[in-house]
Each structure stands twice: as C-alpha cells, then as structure tokens.
C-alpha cells in the first residue's frame, strides 16, 4: 500500500464544492433565471392590483420588494440538496473526511450567490419601477444582501430535513416560513426608515447579528438534518 494520499484542506475543499455548485448552476441557467423572473413578474403585478399612483406605490414598495424577495428565496431553497440526494452524492459528502459544517456552508454559500446576491443586485431596477426614493434603494440592496443570506441558511435547514421526502415543497414552507418572519420585519423596516429619512443602520445591524447567529448555528442543524435524511 503506497503512502496515504493527502486529503485537501477544508478551505480548499469548500472552494472545490463552491466551484462545483456554481458550474452546475451555470450549466442550467433556467434555475438561476427562475427566481429573478418570479421577482420581475410579481413586481409588475402590483401596479395593476394597487393602482398606478406613484405615491401610493412608493409607500408600499419596501414591504412589496421584501416579501417578493422572501418568496423567491423560498421557491429555490427546496433544491439545495435535492439533486445530490437523488444521485447519491450526498452519501459521499457525509462520508467525506472533511468537516461537514464547512461543506454545508459552501453549499449554502453557492445558493446565496445564485439567488440572494443576484436578487439584491437587480433589485434597484424593480425599486425604480415601484418609485422607491433613491436613498432607500441603497438600503434596500444592503438589507437584501444581509437578509437573503439569513434566508438561505434557514432555508437550508428546511431543505436538509425534507430532502428525503418525495414532495417536501409545502412542508418546507411550513417549517421555515416562521423563521423568515424576523428577517422580513427588520428588512422592510430598514427600507421604510430610509424612505422616511430616518437612519436605517440599527435595523441593518440587527439583520447582520441574525446573520452571524445563523452562520454559527444553521450549519449544525443542516448537517444533523442531512444525516437524518440520509439515514432514513
């Protein structure tokens, strides 16, 4: 038996996983486009439902934009581990001589880059459609950047727990929607403050604190959920 080959370091392994997930997503661009398309379609519906008065739309805009961002995140959170579960990759990931905490973070990181980050980057366009004031747009992007990362992490817990179920779609919504609420409350409040000209940083700081907590704890829950799902 030759000398045992060196396993890659955890950081390097995470980069490999990240690259793998991003490559997989880029080769199926419709999956990246879906949440953005959903965002665009629903935003376009609101002026039709609420009436096109710019002032009224601007008043509702923070809440509207945040709710749609939350829903489009919810739509995709189901898929984080699904294909890896179906083709057996997840078993191999659990057996890997690598810290599962970090591997899971890499998966969630890839999910956030493809949904949350892209949503935050395109959100100014939709904010202008709803007549959101210019200073609030910056706060919207910042709150979405922080908030969607929390949503991805929390959604990952639901995805890990329901990945073994044939139809986990509705169950995952029930499981994780309550945990999405605080993010929605503080996220939309930050944008509303910015609209009113009040400093939004306290709210952003609270979302950032939630993110810190989620980064520390969610991977533990996700890892446990994956072990249970693969075991069953």
């Amino acid at each position: 038996m030759s000398a045992v080959a060196q396993a890659p370091g955890p950081a390097r392994f995470c980069l490999v996983l990240l690259r793998r997930q991003l490559t997989l997503a880029v080769r199926r661009p419709i999956e990246i486009g879906n949440p953005l398309l959903f965002f665009a379609m629903v935003v376009a519906l609101f002026p039709l439902g609420l009436g096109p008065a710019p002032d009224q739309l601007a008043g509702f805009a923070p809440g509207i934009l945040w709710i749609i961002a939350l829903l489009s995140n919810l739509l995709t959170s189901d898929t984080v581990f699904r294909s890896d579960f179906e083709d057996g990759s997840l078993e191999q990931l659990l057996l890997a001589p690598q810290p599962l905490f970090l591997s899971v973070l890499a998966y969630i990181g890839a999910h956030w880059l493809l949904t949350g980050l892209l949503l935050a980057l395109v959100s100014p366009v939709f904010a202008l459609m709803l007549n959101l004031s210019a200073p609030a747009v910056g706060v919207l992007v910042a709150s979405l950047l922080l908030g969607t990362a929390v949503l991805s992490l929390v959604g990952g817990i639901g995805a890990a727990l329901t990945v073994g179920l044939k139809r986990g779609g509705m169950l995952i919504s029930l499981l994780i929607l309550p945990f999405y609420m605080p993010v929605l409350i503080f996220g939309s409040a930050a944008v509303r403050n910015a609209v009113l000209g009040i400093p939004a940083t306290p709210y952003l700081a609270i979302i950032a604190a939630m993110l810190c907590l989620a980064i520390a704890l969610a991977p533990l829950a996700i890892a446990a959920g994956l072990r249970i799902s693969v075991d069953a």
């Binding site: 080959a5 396993a7 997989l24 083709d87 890997a96 001589p97």
Partner: protein, 204 residues
C-alpha cells in the same frame, strides 16, 4: 503498511437489524483484515445493502451492535454519484467525497483504466448508465483507502469490465487492502473469497 497482519480494518460485534417488523440478521460478528475479500451473500431483501450502509456509517440508528472502523474507507452505493451536467473529469476532480486532490494525469489514467479514454470531457448526460457506473468505479483506481465497501459494483457493467474489476479487487487485496462487496455473481478471482451469509455468519 502501518497495520500488522493481526490488526483488522473493521470489526463488527453483535449486529442485529430489524426492518418493518422482520429480523434481517442477528448477532452478526466478524472482522475484516488486510488481504481479505469478503462477499456478502443473501437473496434480495436479505439486508445486504443495509449491512453495508451500517458498516460505512451512513445508517446510525435502528440497529443494535457495534461497528469499529479503524481505517478510512471508500463506499460505493447503488447510486453512482455522477452529476449529469459535469464531465467525467470534473466529476472526479470535484468529487464531494473529498479524499484527495487528484491531478489531471491521475484522473485521465483512472478514466482510461475504466474504458472511458476519450470521454473525459464529454458531458456525462451523453453517457450511458453503464458508463456512469464506470466513472464511479474510476474512484477505485484513484483511492488510497485500505477498505472498500462496494454495493453491487458489477451492476450494468459489461463482461470485460467485470473481469477488469475482478483483477482490480485482487490487486487491492494483494496490496494489503480489504474489500467487502455485495454481489449475486460468483466471483472469478485468483484469490480466496470469503462468503458472509447474513443468516449463518462467516462461511469458510
């Protein structure tokens, strides 16, 4: 080889498993030592896959008994863990099993050994089911794990591939590795094959 001949790679004590109210096996006890080729035998539904998942550490609940794993192991299950959207080269280079960072040369050689020379950069969805299995089997040529747990490794593999795989198993055992596999085929190998019956324990 760090282990002496007396040290086993895997030891199983008093393993009992029940599924759906049926007892699949009870008081199963055996050791797997370097140089051992162990074939798990039993009809469909006897619990062969369940046993292998317990040995690998994927199943952690629902059975009683103890499994000691003393070396890194390589587990190949029913699902090939091959991503259709990645090429065979990417599948191996970015494999989630994370055992080691292989260079291009090693991967090309392993793919050539499983008969996929020229398919390295073809998207895997253009490959057949048997070729997917072969991509997965290429991991055996790359791996340095002493213990292999293989669940039905011959499924969807053609006759020539089976013969090559049998040769590989003999080589691995000859190097001081050990193999536990489930298969309904009679192995034609030039070394001793021990048979583990789930009902009667280790046969000679």
């Amino acid at each position: 080889m760090p282990q002496g001949p007396g040290d086993s790679l895997l030891a199983v004590y008093d393993l009992c498993l029940e599924r759906g109210g049926r007892e699949l096996f009870r008081d199963l006890a055996f050791e797997v030592s370097p140089g051992q080729l162990l074939q798990v035998d039993g009809p469909n539904g006897a619990g062969k896959t369940s046993l292998l998942r317990i040995l690998a550490g994927l199943s952690r609940y629902g059975f009683s008994g103890r499994v000691e794993r003393r070396t890194p192991l390589l587990y190949l299950g029913h699902h090939p863990a091959v991503k259709a959207l990645l090429t065979p080269r990417e599948n191996l280079a970015w494999h989630v099993a994370g055992e080691a960072a292989y260079n291009d040369g090693q991967i090309e050689e392993a793919l050539a050994r499983v008969g996929l020379y020229g398919y390295e950069d073809v998207p895997s969805h253009a490959l057949s089911a048997g070729q997917h299995r072969r991509v997965n089997l290429a991991r055996l040529y790359l791996s340095h794990c002493p213990l292999w747990l293989l669940d039905e490794p011959f499924t969807a593999i053609d006759k020539g591939g089976v013969a090559e795989l049998e040769t590989l198993l003999v080589e691995h055992v000859g190097r001081g590795g050990a193999v536990v596999l489930t298969s309904h085929q009679v192995l034609r190998v030039a070394c001793r094959v021990q048979v583990l019956s789930l009902t009667e324990g280790l046969l000679a």
